[in-house]
C-alpha cells in the first residue's frame, strides 16, 4: 500500500519535472524570436513605410503587430487565459467561445457514437453467436474498417445532402467497427462451460444472452467502446475542419486561416484534455464491469 503510494508520488513528481523541462525547452527555443529592441538603422522614408506595411513599425516601441510564429510561453499563457476567461461568448455563426465550440463537437460525437453503439452492439452479438454470420460479414467489415473519415465525407455530403448530419454519419461509420469487432469477439469467446451450464438448465435464449453472455463479454465490449470513443474524438476534428461551421475542428481551421499558432496550440491542448477525460470515463466504466474468473 505504502509502496504503491510512494510510487504514485514519485511518478507524479517525475511528470511535473518532465513538464518543467518541456516548458523550459519551449521557452529557450522561442526566446530568440522574441522582439529584440535593436537600434533602428537610419532608414529612408520609403523603407520606413515599407516596414510599416510589413507590420514592423520601426518607430513604434512595445508589442509588435501580431505575426504568425511559434508563440513564447507568455503569449501561450495569455492565449489560454483569454479563451478560458470567456468560454461562452457568441458572436454569430462564425465566432463562438471555446466551450460552445466544444459543446457542438461533443454533441456531434455523442450522437454519432450513440448511433454506432445502437447498431454495433446488437449486431456484434449476432455475429459473435453465429459463426456463419461472422464469416459472411467478415469481408465487408475488413474492407470498410480502414476507410478514413475524410474519404467518407464527400460521399456523405453528396448522398445525405446535409452537412451536419454528414458529420454525424462520419462519426458513426468510423466508430462502429471497433465496437462491432470487439463485441463479436467477446461474445464468441464466452467460455463453453458457462454456455453448457445454461443449456443444461434450459435457460431461454434471451435470458442466456442477458445473464450469461453479456456479463461475460462486458469487459471486451467496453474495450471496444473505449477504442471507438477515442476514434470518434479523432474523427470529429478532421470532419469539422472539412465541413466547417461550428465545433473545435472548425476553430482549428479558422485559426489556421489566420496562421495563429497560439490559438491552434490552444485548440490542440483542449482536444487532448477532452479526449483524455472521455477516455478516463470509459476506464472507470471498464473497471466497474471487470471480473476475475
Amino acid at each position: 500500500m505504502n509502496a504503491a503510494r510512494s510510487l504514485g508520488l514519485r511518478a507524479g513528481l517525475l511528470s511535473a519535472l518532465l513538464l518543467l523541462v518541456l516548458l523550459a525547452v519551449w521557452h529557450v527555443a522561442t526566446l530568440s524570436s522574441a522582439p529584440v529592441a535593436a537600434a533602428a538603422p537610419a532608414l529612408t522614408p520609403e523603407q520606413i513605410e515599407y516596414a510599416k506595411l510589413m507590420g514592423k513599425d520601426p518607430a513604434a516601441t512595445g508589442a509588435p503587430t501580431a505575426k504568425s510564429g511559434f508563440p513564447t510561453l507568455a503569449q501561450m499563457g495569455s492565449t489560454i487565459a483569454k479563451h478560458l476567461s470567456q468560454p461562452f461568448y457568441d458572436n454569430g455563426p462564425n465566432d463562438k467561445g471555446i466551450a460552445l465550440q466544444l459543446g457542438y463537437s461533443l454533441a456531434r460525437v455523442g450522437l454519432g457514437y450513440l448511433l454506432a453503439a445502437l447498431v454495433a452492439i446488437p449486431l456484434g452479438f449476432v455475429i459473435g453467436m453465429s459463426p456463419l454470420v461472422y464469416r459472411a460479414l467478415d469481408p465487408f467489415i475488413q474492407v470498410l474498417k480502414p476507410i478514413s473519415p475524410l474519404a467518407w465525407m464527400p460521399l456523405a455530403l453528396y448522398t445525405i445532402k446535409d452537412s451536419s448530419i454528414s458529420g454525424i454519419f462520419v462519426i458513426f461509420i468510423c466508430s462502429v467497427w471497433p465496437m462491432l469487432i470487439n463485441t463479436a469477439f467477446g461474445v464468441a469467446s464466452v467460455r463453453r462451460e458457462w454456455l453448457n451450464v445454461a443449456r443444461t438448465l434450459e435457460v431461454t435464449p434471451l435470458r442466456r444472452a442477458f445473464e450469461v453472455i453479456l456479463p461475460a463479454a462486458a469487459p471486451t465490449i467496453l474495450t471496444g467502446m473505449r477504442i471507438s470513443m477515442g476514434i470518434a474524438w479523432l474523427v470529429i476534428v478532421a470532419a469539422e475542419m472539412l465541413v466547417g461551421g461550428t465545433g473545435i475542428g472548425y476553430f482549428v481551421w479558422n485559426e489556421w486561416n489566420n496562421l495563429s499558432l497560439p490559438n491552434v496550440l490552444f485548440a490542440i491542448l483542449t482536444i487532448g484534455v477532452v479526449g483524455m477525460l472521455l477516455d478516463l470515463m470509459f476506464a472507470k466504466l471498464q473497471k466497474a464491469v471487470t471480473y476475475v474468473d
Binding site: 506595411l53 510589413m54 504568425s68 467561445g97 466547417g244
Partner: protein, 468 residues
C-alpha cells in the same frame, strides 16, 4: 499620479476593461475602432446622398448591362424615347421589384437566409452588408456563414443548405453544365469583385521572374472552375509552358495557401486576396504580378443562387440583390475602403490582420521585394455580369478540356449570367432589344471577340482540344 494609464482603473465613470467586451478584439481600443468604423460606414450609407448615389448606381448598372455599347443605348433611347425606355426597364427585374421592395416589405417569401462565403476579400460586398445592416434594411434576416472550401460551397448550394452564396464566377457555369456535379441550373446575379488576385511566388524564387523559368513548379489555385485556374493557365501558356505537363497545378483552399507556401509544398499560387498580401506580410512570398495586369477588370467571384430559388422567391431575391448592390456601391468608393478593411477584419468575418486587408483594398501595398506600390484599382467591385465574361470562361473550359464537344457559348452564358430576364420581358413588351452583353475583352494584349469564340479556342497553340 500618472495620467497615461491605458486602462484607467481609477476612473469612476469608465468600466474597467482589460479587453474588449465582446471578446473579439485584443483591446478595448481596437474594439472601439471596429465599432467606430461600422458606425461611420453606416452613417455614410444612411445619408440621402449615398442613397441617391446607390439608387443611381444600381439603375445605371442595369442599364449599362442591357446596353453594353453606349452607341446602342443612345440609339435605343432615341428610337423609343426616354419615358418608354425607363418604363420598360423599370417594369422588368430587378428595378421594379427593387423599388417595390423599398416600400412593401411584407411581400418577402423568405426572410431567414443563409449565405455562404469563403474568407477572402472578394466576398467584401457580401460580408459587409451584414454588419452595416444592408440586409436587415431590406427586411431580411441573413446569416453569413464562413465555409471551408469551394467544393463545400457547391455541395451546400446543391443541398439547399445555403439560400445564396459567394461563388467563383465560373462555378455557376460549371454547375449548370453539370461538369464536376449534377447539372443544376445556377445564376450569377452580380459579379462580387473585379481584379483583386495576384500571382504570389515563394521568396526563394525572387530571381525567377520569367515564367519560362517555371518548368517543374508546383502552383496552387483555389478551385478547378475558377478564374484563378484559367488565368494561371493562360499566363503560363503564353510563355510557352504547358500547364498540364510543365508545371503542376493543385487545388488548395485559399486559406491554406500561405501555410503550404511556407512549408515549401508549393512554389507559388494564383490566389485570391488577402492571401497574396498575407504571404508578403509573413515574409514567405512576394507578389509577382497582379492579375489586373493580365486582364484589367476581370471578374473573380460572383454572388449567385440557384434558378429555383429565384423562381420561388422573386421578391426575396430582389431584396437580396439590392442589398448586395448597395454594398457594391459602397465598396466601389475609394474613401470607404480603409474603414471596410476594419469592418471585415474580425474573427467572425475574414479573421486577418487589419493592415493586410487595408493594403489589399486601398491598393497601397508592400510587394515583398522591398517596394511600396500604389495601385488604387488593385481590387474593384464592379457588379455587372457581362455575358462576354461568361463566354470567355467557357472558351477556357473548352480549351483545357473541362467541357467536351460543341459548346453553345451564348446560350449558356445568357442562361447563367442574369441579364436576360430583363431582355426577355422587353421582348415581350415588343421592344427592340440589344443583342447581348458582349463587350470585347482584352486578355494579355489579345482581343477576345465573343462572336468568334470557337476561333479563339482554336487559335491557341497550347490547348487540350483537337483542332476542329
Amino acid at each position: 499620479m500618472r495620467t497615461d494609464n491605458r486602462f484607467d482603473p481609477y476612473d469612476a465613470d469608465r468600466p474597467l476593461m482589460m479587453r474588449c467586451a465582446c471578446g473579439q478584439h485584443a483591446s478595448a481600443e481596437e474594439h472601439r475602432g471596429a465599432e467606430a468604423a461600422v458606425a461611420e460606414l453606416k452613417r455614410r450609407s444612411e445619408t440621402a446622398e449615398f442613397e441617391a448615389y446607390s439608387n443611381d448606381f444600381i439603375e445605371a448598372s442595369l442599364v449599362k448591362a442591357l446596353f453594353p455599347h453606349d452607341a446602342m443605348r443612345r440609339r435605343f433611347l432615341r428610337a423609343v424615347g426616354k419615358g418608354t425606355a425607363m418604363a420598360a426597364i423599370g417594369s422588368v427585374l430587378p428595378v421594379a421589384s427593387l423599388q417595390a421592395m423599398a416600400q412593401e416589405k411584407g411581400a418577402l417569401e423568405k426572410r431567414d437566409l443563409k449565405i455562404g462565403f469563403i474568407p477572402i476579400t472578394c466576398a467584401t460586398p457580401l460580408i459587409m452588408a451584414h454588419p452595416l445592416g444592408f440586409y436587415s434594411k431590406q427586411g431580411l434576416d441573413v446569416q453569413v456563414v464562413k465555409t471551408a472550401g469551394w467544393a463545400l460551397i457547391r455541395d451546400k448550394m446543391l443541398n439547399k443548405e445555403y439560400d445564396a452564396t459567394h461563388f467563383l464566377s465560373p462555378m455557376p457555369l460549371a454547375i449548370s453544365l453539370g461538369v464536376g456535379s449534377n447539372p443544376t441550373p445556377m445564376n450569377v446575379a452580380t459579379i462580387q469583385n473585379t481584379n483583386g488576385q495576384a500571382i504570389t511566388l515563394h521568396v526563394r524564387h525572387k530571381d525567377k521572374r520569367d515564367p519560362k523559368d517555371w518548368k517543374g513548379f508546383k502552383f496552387a489555385v483555389p478551385f478547378e472552375y475558377s478564374m484563378h485556374n484559367f488565368l494561371l493557365r493562360y499566363y503560363v501558356a503564353e510563355a510557352g509552358l504547358d500547364p498540364d505537363r510543365d508545371i503542376q497545378i493543385r487545388v488548395v483552399p485559399p486559406p491554406e495557401m500561405v501555410a503550404n507556401l511556407r512549408a515549401g509544398n508549393i512554389d507559388g499560387y494564383l490566389g485570391p486576396d488577402p492571401f497574396n498580401q498575407r504571404a508578403v506580410f509573413e515574409e514567405v512570398g512576394f507578389i509577382h504580378l497582379l492579375t489586373k495586369d493580365l486582364w484589367n477588370g476581370h471578374p473573380c467571384c460572383a454572388f449567385g443562387t440557384s434558378t429555383e430559388f429565384i423562381q420561388k422567391n422573386p421578391n426575396t431575391f430582389a431584396a437580396l440583390y439590392r442589398a448586395v448592390l448597395t454594398s457594391a456601391a459602397m465598396a466601389r468608393e475609394a474613401r470607404n475602403r480603409e474603414l471596410i478593411a476594419k469592418v471585415i477584419a474580425p474573427q467572425a468575418y475574414l479573421n486577418q490582420p487589419e493592415t493586410v486587408l487595408t493594403q489589399v483594398l486601398t491598393g497601397k501595398f508592400a510587394d515583398g521585394l522591398g517596394n511600396v506600390k500604389n495601385v488604387p484599382d488593385r481590387a474593384d467591385f464592379d457588379p455587372i455580369p457581362w455575358q462576354s465574361m461568361a463566354v470567355w470562361m467557357l472558351t477556357q473550359m473548352k480549351r483545357w478540356g473541362y467541357v467536351k464537344g460543341e459548346v453553345n457559348y451564348k446560350q449558356i452564358a445568357e442562361k447563367v449570367f442574369l441579364l436576360t430576364d430583363a431582355k426577355k420581358q422587353m421582348k415581350a413588351l415588343d421592344m427592340k432589344v440589344p443583342d447581348g452583353a458582349y463587350p470585347k475583352i482584352t486578355v494579355m494584349g489579345k482581343v477576345f471577340d465573343p462572336e468568334k469564340a470557337d476561333a479563339y479556342v482554336n487559335g491557341f497553340a497550347i490547348k487540350r482540344t483537337p483542332n476542329a
